[in-house]
């Protein structure tokens, strides 16, 4: 999966418009080898945006019937920040069971894993993988895909935030330590040398680099260094 994951992340990274991002999210279906992928975000302005592989007829029905008001996935996820297997949600209300039955009739899989994300300033999003599978197959898949799901879902959300036109927003600012760490790596120092220079442990250095990578919307450390240089955040 890792090669496919790299390709998917590259596509997400190069998405320069919401249309391109939508296309990149749609193609994550093949990356995870599942029936459906859904990314649904609520901006801090309250505006909604999403990318979804469900049948358009089902999306229209969902909107027309205002299913989000009773959808256990929405009700559970939009407040939280831990992944939820759909099976663990409360489907006992009749409206929820109707929703599930109608969804399945429209080609939605019986299994789902949704990861809610909290962004800056009250922004939030939910990233979902959906498939048709037996319970044991799904449990094995979910454990296997967990780390990649965490990475990809947050990456998609950061790309969406960046496309919102908030370049150099406070949540993207690097701390002095993060800037130092990238500067030393850009100058060719090893992690051990960089940590020694900054008088911190390699463990802490790794956290600074990971935080900088995330804030810069970079795929990896090399990409983060290049990105920081091109933005003039570090100079070597």
């Amino acid at each position: 999966m890792s090669r496919k994951l790299d390709d998917a992340l590259e596509r997400l990274a190069s998405a320069a418009s919401f249309d391109a991002l939508e296309g990149a999210v749609t193609s994550l279906r093949d990356t995870f080898e599942v029936e459906h992928v859904v990314y649904h975000a609520v901006r801090s302005t309250g505006e909604r945006w999403g990318a979804v592989t469900y049948d358009p007829g089902w999306v229209q029905t969902y909107i027309d019937e205002n299913f989000q008001a009773i959808d256990p996935v929405v009700l559970n996820c939009f407040r939280r920040f831990t992944p939820a297997d759909w099976k663990t949600l409360d489907w006992s209300p009749r409206a929820a069971r109707t929703l599930l039955a109608e969804g399945i009739a429209h080609g939605i899989g019986n299994q789902g894993l949704s990861l809610p994300i909290r962004g800056p300033n009250g922004q939030f999003a939910v990233f979902t993988l959906n498939d048709r599978a037996r319970d044991d197959e799904w449990a094995a898949f979910a454990r296997e895909a967990f780390d990649d799901l965490l990475l990809v879902a947050h990456y998609v959300n950061e790309r969406a935030l960046a496309l919102d036109g908030t370049q150099n927003a406070p949540h993207q600012m690097l701390s002095p330590r993060e800037t130092d760490a990238l500067t030393l790596l850009a100058a060719g120092r090893s992690r051990a040398q960089a940590a020694e220079h900054l008088r911190i442990s390699e463990n802490t250095l790794r956290v600074y680099i990971e935080s900088a990578r995330f804030k810069l919307g970079a795929l990896n450390t090399v990409h983060a260094v290049a990105n920081a240089m091109s933005r003039g955040l570090i100079c070597v």
Binding site: A84, D85, I117, H154
Partner: protein, 209 residues
């Protein structure tokens, strides 16, 4: 046992929640002298309690509050970002792999055993959610307590006696805490699954390096 509850789940455990917020008043206002807000019921709460954090709560033998702390993801609003940004040069760590922990609280009668269980709960939760580190703000008296528990943070920044610290949530810490807290790994995992179900990262069995 150790409970893992979102803020919105607390109303299903009203006595436990009330005891936690009162014990927080006793610790942060009465013992540590912080300028915290305590309401007419004697509850210490702040804005971050309103953001539906996850509380890790250790119960005593009678099911009462023994120890607790609260977690928020650093991708969203945190105390470190909003209240103490100067401790990290104005731009705190943001990462899906790092959660903020705040309001580390021990009930007045709780001993080191409760504190160790609390830390075990924090590591258990983090490892299952793919979280590798935790950041938080603490002041000087806590340094000694953390050291005694074998849970010393790496200090990231200090000003006016208040520090930002980084804790590593590792398999090694998990195993050490299981042993010192006298809780079997299987039991600890079962307490977590009681709250979050079984679909979680395989950690602590396989932790990323």
């Amino acid at each position: 046992m150790i409970r893992y509850l979102y803020g919105t789940d607390l109303d299903r455990h009203p006595d436990l929640a009330a005891a936690m917020f009162r014990d927080r008043a006793a610790q942060f206002r009465d013992r540590m002298g912080w300028a915290v807000t305590v309401d007419a019921m004697g509850w210490e709460t702040d804005d971050y309690d309103g953001m539906d954090p996850i509380y890790v709560i250790v119960e005593d033998a009678a099911g009462g509050h023994a120890a607790s702390m609260r977690f928020l993801p650093t991708t969203g609003p945190t105390m470190l970002a909003d209240v103490f940004p100067h401790l990290m040069g104005g731009a705190p760590i943001r990462s899906p792999l790092v959660w903020e922990c705040t309001r580390f609280c021990l009930s007045p009668g709780a001993g080191a055993g409760a504190a160790r269980r609390l830390l075990l709960g924090a590591v258990e939760l983090g490892l299952a959610m793919g979280v590798t580190h935790s950041v938080g703000v603490f002041d000087a008296p806590m340094t000694r307590i953390y050291r005694r528990l074998g849970w010393s943070p790496e200090v990231l920044g200090t000003q006016d006696g208040i520090s930002a610290g980084l804790w590593t949530l590792s398999r090694r810490t998990h195993d050490m805490l299981c042993s010192t807290a006298g809780v079997e790994a299987r039991t600890s995992r079962a307490w977590l699954e009681a709250s979050f179900g079984e679909i979680l990262a395989q950690a602590p069995l396989s932790v990323r390096g």
